[in-house]
Symmetry: C2
Amino acid sequence: MARKAQPAGGYATGKDVAQRAGVSTITVSRVFNPAWEGKIRPETVERVRQVAQELNYRPNGVARSLVNRRTNIIAVVIGQSAGFFYSEILTDLVRRIQKSGRQALVFSLDLYDNVARILEQVAQHRVDAVVVTSSALRTDVMRPLEDMGMPVILFKRSAEQTNISGIWCDERQGALLAADCLLRTGCRQIGIVAHPHGGTGRAQAFAEELARQNITPVQTVWGDYSYESGQQAARKLLTDHQLDAIFCEEDTMAMACLDVARQEFGLRVPDDLAIIGFDNNTAAALPAYNITTVAHPIVDMLDALMEAIEQVTCDPHTPVRRQFEMSLLERSTTK
Amino acid sequence: MARKAQPAGGYATGKDVAQRAGVSTITVSRVFNPAWEGKIRPETVERVRQVAQELNYRPNGVARSLVNRRTNIIAVVIGQSAGFFYSEILTDLVRRIQKSGRQALVFSLDLYDNVARILEQVAQHRVDAVVVTSSALRTDVMRPLEDMGMPVILFKRSAEQTNISGIWCDERQGALLAADCLLRTGCRQIGIVAHPHGGTGRAQAFAEELARQNITPVQTVWGDYSYESGQQAARKLLTDHQLDAIFCEEDTMAMACLDVARQEFGLRVPDDLAIIGFDNNTAAALPAYNITTVAHPIVDMLDALMEAIEQVTCDPHTPVRRQFEMSLLERSTTK
DNA sequence: GTGAAAGCGCTAACAT
DNA sequence: ATGTTAGCGCTTTCAC
């Protein structure tokens, strides 16, 4: 095979192909550009393709991006408290992006301190848009990107306080659904597991709704969306009080509560204790958990996101903003 | 703020900064190049940085890549039967890549037919290396990349039949561990859930080890690594036969077996039925499942992968190949 | 310490 | 239907 036909060190270029095929570089360019389909003499196309194959030539996407001022790359920034939820969303999102003819450059934030550096990398890459799913990220951190004029789309995190593009849910409304469910089924001694600066306002909205019905949450304890923090939260709540319900700001913590309640406190769920989570993780839907939870209409949201990407890559200066409603999935941890 | 100082439509360039700072473009380039740190008069640096900030200037990574012949991007190709396993690996991997100063361009394969097209995109992007974790991908599909001279590293999938770079496990040895465990604890009526063309040889090695001890598996049924396929497999096995153990080629299916055995057949695990999985999913480790499983030394493997990336980006023509041993995590689904 | 010229690989605009 | 010219934004010589 003609494996070694390229110039040492690098890849074959359009010029290499052009010379060997006896045409100009622009002709090679056109052969590999769908827009010129059919506007080049078939035998020329044939010859160019032939030589290209011999040389293992592929158009250099980097050079193309430079000229076209479009990379066809979407940056996807995911948060550190990924848990089960974001990693699922991630693969879905990547597939959608791929299907739209683009590619996903994925960034994962684990610590606060390097966020600026990472966003700096995003900025330098001249991606066509940035999708941010990390709810732990304060919006002002994204200012450098916005100031550059790089389109930012917040996904599945509140964008209410800003005028950036965003696809999010009315999480207060979701929290109301949870509160209603518990109150409706007779729960009165209610504990809450919340993130100290989750910024989602889920627990707050939940507590407010209880208050409207003259119920005060027995206790609120903190968790960081990890399974372990959920365990500790549950131990604390169930040791200190005689509860009949726990509301968790996130499913992974709800799963931990369920395990602790059953295995460590011998409670029957939902008879002795009801548990409601938030987010509809894949894992929470497993039969051994089957957690009642407040769910995002994730498919619709992804549809909206892809539309937003399409829009925003055409006109970066008009933000696309859509809010969705949440729904309650009543499974087996509530009556 | 000087938000609108850029030329219409695009981003500020080094030239823009140079003009406004009264220097040449090359000086701007140097100010933003770490290698020139300290070799430029501090007041020049100061002035350039000042103007750059006013203009929201960032060096154009695309242009840099074109000149440097390095994108600092690693392509990561993940398979369709992602389940819980790959999505976790993915976020870990992305973080590692990030920490090494590179970025991850993620591709997800869902259907067989567009694989070639997707790999074509990978090829055009001039990524510094390609990491392939999809075990459903036949190695010959990667030939175009290799022929181009683009470094491919197989990760967590057998690379034994090839001479491509790879980081993988001795899955036969892993399967032996599972077989030993079941036989040692007195299991004799053993069912198997395998992937018809998983190509991992896990079930085969498992069966061979049983044979060495004069045991024949009662039945082998097929699953595609999904939870649902695991359910069906379990129903079939447990309806047809009186088993005392099931070996699953993958954890998600083992979880399904556990649920079906407990909830639909009223079996006690591990007393009535032992279950062993493979891969050590995060979900399989949850207390409500706590599946005994054959695990990859995933941290070591990621370390090795990052080393391999480092190597291969320097010298693309010397493959880096390492095989690891697997270990048995005895949890609560075996005696 | 800084600059001028050339070129990375490609394509838009204008020829022919 | 194909070629020429110029330039995308940056960096690498080689000068000064």
